[in-house]
Symmetry: C2
Subunit: 429 residues, 2 copies
């Protein structure tokens, strides 16, 4: 196919007729497909069902150090769980606090604490006239929701193929002491699936923030979520790199087992320097007596160690890989050469990012919806839901079955074509 933009008005109108008929046919199918969120499929959940069997009434729910996991106590997590999550997060166990079921909750609490109590002795942010966060875009909507909720002004920083535009990050962070943080999904980023390059991570660790309470919010959500055994992205470990660079306290690292075991019933953790952890513990001991140790123990007994977890992730990959490949194949087959969009081909994570022609994303998503396909809302990948180019759409291939996904992607590609034709025709008019 030749690029749409090179086609004549008449050719486009003819094609439009044909595609409209196809769209009508899709509408007749009464589809109910949901690709809006990065939710694991039922098939993925099934592979963790063994977790329900590792603790029974005949088992001893006691840790190696004698802690009875059934009772109160142990604020920062049982030793075994810290070791497992530390290996997953590539840090030392004593640099970790284990939380409840959600790393999002940990991030929220981290921002909330900074609002009311500052960071390691700094002025509480609620006492400041203005607080800003840098937001690499496109990015994760729930990050942006947290900062928006707290009235923190969000400043867009464009993503590149190697991570955020570090020239801009360095310049902004160094010149503006109201900038207190940056949201990062450094590996298999949400939504583009980009992993930060070594240079990017090194430059992050060497930032010279004007604000002493500036922190990198390093949400390593997809640290072990590879699609391939032999073609995996690697990331320089940020805590160690910050320490080497003389900035040991500049980063909070977050992770969870939400997409390893069960979403909502996993365990989450923060990793940070000793100074930061001491600061956090001052709050944590007020907030709770301790998190769910039985669930921590359940994870340890099920995975045993990091090797067990890695083997487990291969099972996830076996389910995810064909889905990612189906999305890419359909996009290439249907849209290749048409010059109506670009997309990423991640090697892990949960998302593929699609960039339509400028000004088309909202209309494409709406058109999908009218034929029974729910995509992530256009704009969701930008702070305040405002995509300045209205061109980014997040594709979440995990939840539908493979046959449903193929159907959904055909419909998606069809909607892209139709909306793009209308857009080009309008420009030609």
């Amino acid at each position: 196919m030749k690029p749409y933009v090179e086609m004549t008005k008449e050719e486009l109108q003819e094609l439009r007729k044909e595609l409209s008929a196809q769209y009508k046919e899709f509408q007749g199918r009464d589809l109910k497909l949901d690709m809006s969120r990065g939710k694991p499929s039922a098939e993925q959940l099934d592979i963790s069902m063994g977790m329900m069997d590792v603790l029974s009434s005949s088992d001893d729910l006691t840790c190696d150090d004698g802690t009875d996991c059934r009772n109160y106590g142990v604020l920062d997590g049982i030793k075994e769980a810290k070791e497992l999550l530390a290996d997953m997060m590539e840090v030392a166990p004593d640099h970790i606090i284990i939380y409840g079921n959600s790393s999002l909750n940990v991030m929220y609490d981290t921002v909330s604490r900074s609002m009311t109590h500052g960071v390691m002795g700094s002025t509480p942010w609620c006492k400041l006239d203005k607080v800003k966060f840098l937001c690499p875009v496109p990015g994760y909507d729930r990050h942006f929701s947290i900062t928006e909720y707290f009235g923190i002004e969000m400043v867009n920083v464009p993503m590149t193929s190697t991570g955020p535009d570090m020239d801009l990050v360095e310049q902004l962070v160094a010149s503006d002491d109201t900038i207190k943080g940056i949201w990062c999904v450094p590996k298999y980023s949400n939504p583009q699936g980009i992993s930060y390059s070594d240079e990017t991570v090194r430059r992050f660790a060497r930032l010279k923030p004007a604000a002493s309470d500036f922190r990198i919010y390093w949400d390593n959500a997809y640290t072990i979520h590879h699609l391939y055994d032999n073609d995996q992205d690697h990331l320089i470990e940020i805590l160690a790199e910050c320490k080497r660079a003389g900035n040991p306290d500049m980063v909070y690292k977050f992770a969870s087992t939400s997409k390893v075991s069960f979403p909502g019933s996993g365990i989450a953790a923060i990793a940070a320097s000793e100074n930061n952890l001491t600061d956090i513990m001052k709050q944590l001991k007020i907030q709770t007596i301790g998190h769910d140790k039985v669930n921590q123990l359940r994870h340890v007994r099920f995975f045993k160690d990091i090797h067990g977890m890695v083997e487990h992730m291969r099972k996830h990959a076996d389910i995810m890989r064909p889905k990612f490949e189906a999305v890419i194949e359909t996009l290439e087959k249907e849209l290749g050469g048409l010059e109506v969009g670009e997309w990423t081909s991640p090697k892990g994570g949960y998302f593929i990012s699609f960039d339509s022609l400028d000004g088309c994303a909202k209309t494409i998503v709406a058109k999908c919806k009218k034929a029974g396909l729910i995509m992530t809302g256009a704009g969701a990948t930008y702070p305040y839901g405002k995509d300045p180019h209205d061109n980014n759409i997040r594709i979440a291939p995990s939840y539908p079955t493979l046959p449903d996904l193929k159907q959904a992607m055909e419909l998606f590609a069809l909607c892209v074509k139709l909306v793009s034709i209308d857009h080009i025709l309008a420009e030609k008019a």
Copy 2:
């Protein structure tokens, strides 16, 4: 025995010698007894072990409405869990949000949200010059820690045998719009085991607070934690009473299964009016995708319904009752008639409160410690750890075994005697 205060100096000195010898004997036993916290005993934990068997890999982890508990979603809790906790909390299921493992965490988050975002549209408390909470004393140290952490000024309100001094509460709340809350443990209170009278609850529901964002923090931690089948305290349900009184939004009610199933691995909940819940949900949807639904389902499958929970609580009572009775018996036997202290005889909950002679509590606790018995720190039952009379000591009988507890209480009574004698002798001198 005649009251110590009526004994001569010589008699007291003689007695002191005898008791000191007994104390030395105790010191020789090398005891390690911990009565500091309201922790269930291992025996109590054992009765919930069946909870480890109700979900296995061969079970369907799906709710009646089709929700897969293993996946993301359902912000306010699965329907079945809301019904169970609603029955436990004596409210309608649609007035409940199910949280994670800790009601303390829910209370912390409630105060934290009020600091940053106010209450149902009021000015965020962090923007106010002064925020105060009323604290019935003696009370629960972890409540006081939360308000202290947020810089909220705490105002003591004396407890009476029917609950807080309501004349004072009414007057303070009506006259001071910086008073934004009051901490209550209305049933089998911590530490006295007092349940608020009907009149007290009615007066609470009819408060006329100067501040529209004043809330009653109703921590009904021991709502089903009775010691006896046929002699139980009953509490007027506060949400309904507030509604009847025309103050539907004035109360947050908290509870958890921490001392029903496993502490740290239970489920917690808040109950409130629709207006309050709507306000809370605005925050909750930013903070998390949802709490641990598998654990919610586990509780529902184990207890089945409120009747199952009540039957389960009888097993706890069978373990707790002899411990409470042993404490009371020892106190009566050792200290009865001496006029060196007073104590409560609760019909439920986790604590017995002991009031020594003024100025003796710290010394008694310290003396216990030197012989190997850890009591809750003297002062802990007051805001800022400051007991103005230095006379209140919380007794937590749950954790030690019955033989250990008996030994501990003998030692405790001995320390009370010794410290009281010194105190009286010093006054006579």
